[in-house]
Symmetry: C2
Subunit: 133 residues, 2 copies
DNA sequence: TTTAAAATTGTTATAATATAACATTATGTA
DNA sequence: TACATAATGTTATATTATAACAATTTTAAA
């Protein structure tokens, strides 16, 4: 097969899975992804999980830990997932990535009582979205 | 059996499982808990998960979402888990609950660009703990 | 341009995490 | 008491994730 993934940095499976997540209006779970991409030849869980791992690692997607689901990164400032924040609707399950420079700065600079700073954080806010209120 | 759990508000299984988590120096996973309490008559996953659910609901423990593991609440100010923050060591897996009034206030009052406030948040900081640095 | 290392893929099996469903017993309260 | 609610016990199964190994593709260095 011709060098299929030179100009961008995603491999075939990574691209297929990223496109799916990127187009989705809601977080996608690994097995939902698996079922969706079986017609494209991705047939087994490890293929999905490996692509997901790589996409998380490179900051193209984020894992919503409380939901075991994945969303495309919408925040060019999250610096490869060192500083992620999300709002999650408890009713409709909608997830939005929060891009708030002040919040990022506050948390990135946060140090605990012993003066320890952290390399990375993940913040999940829960409530009702506009629609569900 | 005599009313075994009147004076406190935990049932037998809940108490057994809470005690185990409370004494642990590290987050415990559901199946680790299951193996530990089998000699006490708790034999099946649903018994563990039900107790965990209740303990989370009542704020006695918290779930560390990035690890699928549980720690006892060390922060009387988290108000039944409406405002939780943890520091997590990426090397030794140690988890500490952060009790920081300013941080709690900042995040509790946080509203996004549309002015939406949230009911609850969970924040996980990652880095190296004192020992591992 | 070979060629070797690294990354990616394909595949089977299985591990780890979590819940459904239903019967039974214990507890709190009218 | 007696009823409702909460908790328990049990079996089965659903969901999420990784181990292990073989093969292919890509990258980059010699």
């Amino acid at each position: 097969m011709d060098k299929m993934y030179k100009e961008n940095n995603l491999s075939k499976n990574q691209q297929i899975i990223f496109d799916l997540i990127d187009k989705s209006s809601e977080p996608l779970k690994a097995y939902t992804i698996l079922f969706s991409v079986q017609k494209k030849g991705i047939k087994a869980p490890p293929q999905v999980y490996r692509a997901l791992d790589k996409l998380v690692e490179t900051g193209k997607i984020h894992k919503i830990e409380s939901k075991n689901a994945f969303v495309a990164c919408r925040n060019s400032n999250c610096e490869i997932s060192k500083a992620t924040a999300f709002s999650i609707c408890e009713s409709c399950e909608m997830v939005d990535e929060i891009s708030d420079a002040k919040l990022t700065k506050y948390l990135t600079n946060f140090s605990d009582k012993k003066g320890t700073k952290y390399k990375r954080f993940n913040l999940e806010f829960f409530g009702l979205c506009k629609k569900c209120k």
